[in-house]
Amino acid sequence: MKHVIIGNSAAAIGCVEGIRRASRTDDIVLVAAEPHHTYSRPLISYLMAGKTDRTKIRYRPENFYRANGVQAKLGRRALGIDPAGKIVTLDGGETIAYDNVLVATGSDPLIFPAEGLDQVENVRTFTTLDDAEALLRSVTAETRVFVVGAGLIGLKCAEGLRAITEHITVCDLAPRVLSSILEDAPAAILRRHLEENGIVLKLGTSVSSFARAGAACTATLRTGETVPFDQLVYAAGVRPNTALVKDAGGDVNRGILVDTLCRTSLPDVYAAGDCTESPDACSGERKVMALLPNAYLQGETAGITMAGATAPTLPLLPMNAIGFFGLHLLCAGVYDGERTEHTDGQNYRSFYTRDNTLRGYILLGRVERAGIYTALIRGRTPLDALDFAALRDQPGLIAFAGPVRAEILRNQDNQRKREAAAP
């Protein structure tokens, strides 16, 4: 069997490792547009802050491709897939025949048009190693940085740059930070923490126009305020890269549509990671869940399936672990049903329950052992079978009934089987 993997990040690497779990001998060709060894995209903000480096940012050891028998074609772009002829065409016209192909092409950042944007030089986005290195070259202690977008990417970029310059302003149309994953109360705590650490936030507004005078630029916000800056970073969302599947005639919505085994609507064409749309185990809705753990799990599942073995399919959840200036935020699931919340002003925790199950949670500050909650969501564990009131205050296995706890502690595989059995 010959497998072609298009991409080189978490989903692609998961696919390599999935294939190798099932087969030591199948051929694997990996094609990626970026010339770099596989690296961790979420770590680029840590690179800015000096908390990782060009070597440590590698997602897998240097010998990964050789050790896994992968023919890596890095710096090459896949231009098309012919699902009838089972051929991938690369830039330069080279063709590769496949038995199975995985599309793990991720997403690209969006730059919304705005009046005067064409006058601004060096507009950057913040999703790749090259983006981070370009900012490291251009930003100094004197640089005033303006970040459009107070989501995960924009705020991590701001935090990373804060190690270099004190002058950082972040703007977002939403009235709160991390609007896609936080509700108002925890967002207010996080906002205060960011501001205490020197990030200037302009929320609930957007840029009406940009203007340039010499090297310096100015953004005028819809509130009428002006923000002078030297470096602009766009972090206002991403678009899944679906073209390869769409052009080949496959089903695509916002992302490439895949089932729980990561099969697309085209035979022997799989897709995984940020370019896909798949069912959220909590809500049942199809979503682009552009998160690294999900990308890896999808890639691994695709790889095992491509190699002809039976893959365990874990239900995928929206879930995030992220920290800013020492304040950690962990959240998972969906925020519907009955909410209970507790805060002391610094730490915050809320839980969402419905139909005797935990649906979601948000923890800010004190986050230890949060995975116990995540497992309850993933496994749809009936809450009346455990002491949930105690568990909310203090996550621990002691909240489970004795025999259940004994099973959990004895054999980790039971947990996996329970999760795999969840619909």
Binding site: T52, K56, A321, A370, I408, Q412
Partner: protein, 147 residues
């Protein structure tokens, strides 16, 4: 492979395993001297509600969600032991979000995580918690036969 198993009915709730774990991970030696007057950060934790007590440490899963989800590629499996590369870890806590046992914990400095690695780096492959448990409530064995 041999793993740590706990026998809840034998646990006295003495927390000695936590001290031996912390000491082993500080390089062993005289425990009283090493730990006197400082907070301990063990990789095994005793849960205790006054009636029931038992210790929890990494289960070294066959399908480790911590490794699969690690955004830094800092978690690997070597001969069945799930290990963290502290140099690569950036302390994002995705593993804490993922571990169903709550067995991955923030390290003392908060900039990375730590977990039980069965004392492979410290006490020569014989976990200090099991070695020193006074009531054999923690055992290091194949398959948890006696657990």
């Amino acid at each position: 492979m041999k793993k740590i198993y706990v026998r809840e009915e034998w646990c006295l709730g003495c927390h000695l395993c936590e001290y031996y774990c912390a000491n082993a991970n500080l390089g062993g030696g005289n425990m009283a001297k090493a730990l006197k007057g400082r907070p301990v950060h063990p990789r095994i934790r005793v849960e205790d509600d006054g009636k029931i007590s038992f210790a929890v440490a990494c289960r070294h899963c066959d399908e480790p969600l911590c490794r699969k989800g690690c955004i830094a590629g800092a978690i690997s499996v070597a001969d069945g032991v799930v290990c963290i590369d502290r140099e690569k870890c950036v302390g994002c806590y995705t593993c804490i979000l993922s571990c169903p046992y709550g067995a991955v914990l923030p390290a003392e400095d908060g900039h990375a995580v730590q977990k039980c690695e069965l004392c492979i780096q410290t006490a020569g492959g014989s976990p200090a918690c099991a070695e020193h448990c006074p009531n054999r409530a923690i055992v290091f064995e194949e398959g948890g036969a006696s657990a």
